[in-house]
């Protein structure tokens, strides 16, 4: 029996796009395109097994070795700092981590800045680097309403097109870091499944270069 390459893909549009890249690299698995609710798909011929997981969980599957490789946003990698290799910037799923606030926002330096975010660590690291004292408010969703309801002064969140912000009368004040999807790899798997991983990496890298 061949050893299977286990791939964790983020559920959703990004995952589907990335799967197409994997398919072009010779790791196809036709059953994945059938419209059903299955989460695991495998193609023994190509020795590959894909599974759909929640985007923020991909890094955990890879770090713990349940998946050999996976695709995760840089935001997740910065927030959870998993102990994995970051082999390639896939230059897709591009957005940015930014500080946004109400249009008339002015920073009151007399008191700590109230920051609402899903990305607590990214926010903390950013404000430490600029030397600003903050009061962090962890939220799990609908971050945009925090400044509107005066729960926070600013938010730290992912901005793609900025439409959501605009519709809620918010605007970007600072870009913290650009975000894109990354190919990540378990450190042990990289050694024991080096051949298929290098093959995949090579093909994906040339696909990314062509897209440019």
């Amino acid at each position: 029996m061949k050893t299977m390459l286990n791939v964790a893909l983020p559920k959703g549009r990004l995952g589907e796009k990335v799967y197409n890249m994997f398919e072009k690299a010779g790791f196809d698995c036709p059953s994945i395109k059938e419209n059903n609710r299955k989460l695991i798909f495998e193609n023994e011929e190509c020795a590959v097994r894909y599974f759909w997981v929640k985007p923020s969980d991909v890094a955990i599957y890879v770090e713990r070795g349940a998946a050999d490789i996976g695709v995760a946003g840089k935001d997740i990698l910065l927030e959870y700092t998993p102990d994995v290799y970051e082999l390639l910037d896939l230059k897709t799923g591009i957005c940015r981590m930014a500080v946004a606030a109400k249009k008339d926002f002015r920073d009151n330096l007399q008191r700590p800045l109230k920051v609402a975010t899903k990305f607590t660590n990214i926010a903390k690291n950013y404000y430490t680097s600029v030397g600003r004292d903050i009061d962090i408010i962890h939220l799990n969703g609908s971050i945009e309403i925090a400044p509107i309801l005066n729960l926070s002064d600013v938010i730290v969140d992912i901005v793609e097109t900025g439409t959501t912000l605009k519709e809620n009368n918010l605007e970007v004040f600072e870009t913290i870091v650009p975000i894109s999807a990354r190919l990540i790899c378990n450190k042990s798997s990289f050694k024991f499944k080096n051949e298929p991983i290098e093959k995949l990496l090579k093909s994906l890298a040339s696909q990314v270069a062509q897209e440019k």
Partner: protein, 371 residues
């Protein structure tokens, strides 16, 4: 007493094998107390894998710590005279917080240290012991080796600020070639050193081939000497299980030169970690070299993922009115065939047994066979 090998856990088996191995290379066992003064660890906090230490106050009011590490104590008590070499191994429990976990764990650790006047022969010997330690645990293993002095030399050649250096070191450890190139391009760096750095990040493979590639790229005499030296150390070792991987970087404030990690197929993280730590010794005020490694035995439990099919080989059912002498004789007779036997009045709900017997009169009668 004969020890039944099948009953031992992977970690326990490894302890026996590793002790015998280290003994045969003339390493002496180092035993230490469970506690040390907290101050001692606080001074060398950065060397420890986790900063959290379990502390308590001794009767006399002194603050003590449950040892989070063995290497520091060995180095402290080394007391070496010139040109002397001390070789010790240990098998101790350490107490620390594991990465990504918020509670203390007791971790069984075996390892060795070779300290004093270290030369390439002794470094190769330690690497050989690392290879043999891994082989004693499982056939599918790889020892990943790097030389930090090579990485640091390349970074020096780039002539970047210390901040950038720190960032680059982190990115190298992630094999993050894209972001490294991003930084170098942004700083208008496009020297030969950039090419070497790129090759360094992407190189992974058998030592000879990787080192040849690097040497073909490099035009720096110091770097070439470092490459030759690494080739010299590795020349006597079997290359099929060694992979050069420069992404392997330990804290540069404590480690210099060769660093290495051991991986076992089926375990997602490294089970062996070591390297040369001259800077640590310097920080502790002494003037000698040292190299060593530790094996994390707690991780070996990951190797036996298949649970046993049966909890016990045989169950003998009895009731209170039976003849206890006869029962005992029958149980011992069964045990003498080398199987595990339990006498029970009722069978627990989820107990999986191979055979079920019942005592009737003075004999046992087989009533169920699942084997």
């Amino acid at each position: 007493m004969q020890i039944n090998n099948t009953l031992l856990q992977n970690g326990e088996k490894a302890v026996f094998a590793l002790r015998a191995l280290y003994n045969s290379y003339g390493y002496a066992q180092y035993k230490m107390s469970k506690f040390e003064e907290y101050d001692f660890y606080a001074k060398n906090k950065d060397f420890l894998i986790s900063e959290n230490i379990i502390t308590f106050t001794d009767i006399g009011g002194k603050l003590l710590a449950l040892k989070p590490d063995v290497t520091l104590s060995i180095v402290k008590n080394a007391n070496l005279s010139e040109n002397e070499v001390k070789k010790v191994y240990y098998n101790e429990n350490v107490y620390r917080v594991k990465r990504g976990d918020n509670s203390f764990k007791e971790i069984m650790q075996t390892g060795l240290e070779c300290i004093g006047s270290i030369d390439n022969f002794l470094i190769a010997e330690v690497l050989e012991l690392a290879l043999k330690s891994l082989a004693a645990i499982s056939e599918g293993f790889i020892l990943e080796v790097s030389d930090q002095s090579i990485v640091l030399r390349v970074l020096d050649l780039l002539e970047v600020s210390d901040n950038t250096k720190t960032t680059l070191i982190k990115l190298i450890s992630e094999k993050n070639a894209d972001e490294i190139n991003g930084i170098l391009t942004a700083q208008n760096k496009c020297s030969k050193a950039c090419e070497v750095l790129n090759a360094l990040v992407k190189s992974y493979g058998e030592p000879k081939q990787v080192l040849e590639n690097l040497k073909n790229l490099s035009d720096d005499a110091v770097l070439n000497d470092l490459i030759d030296n690494l080739a010299d150390v590795l020349s006597s070792l079997p290359s099929d299980k060694i992979r050069l991987d420069f992404s392997e970087i330990n804290d540069v404030n404590y480690y210099n030169g060769i660093v290495f990690k051991g991986f076992i197929n089926g375990i997602p993280t490294s089970v062996l970690s070591g390297g040369r730590y001259d800077p640590l010794i310097k920080k502790m005020g002494a003037e000698f070299s040292a190299i060593g490694f530790a094996v994390y035995l707690d991780l070996l439990s990951e190797l036996s993922k298949e649970p046993e099919k049966f909890d016990i080989d045989a169950v003998v059912l009895y009731d209170e009115n039976c003849d206890y002498t006869a029962l005992n004789e029958q149980l011992n007779a069964l045990r003498q065939t080398g199987i595990s036997v339990s006498a029970l009045k009722i069978i627990p709900k989820r107990l999986k047994y191979k055979k079920l017997y019942k005592l009737s009169g003075k004999e046992v009668e087989l009533i169920e066979d699942n084997a």
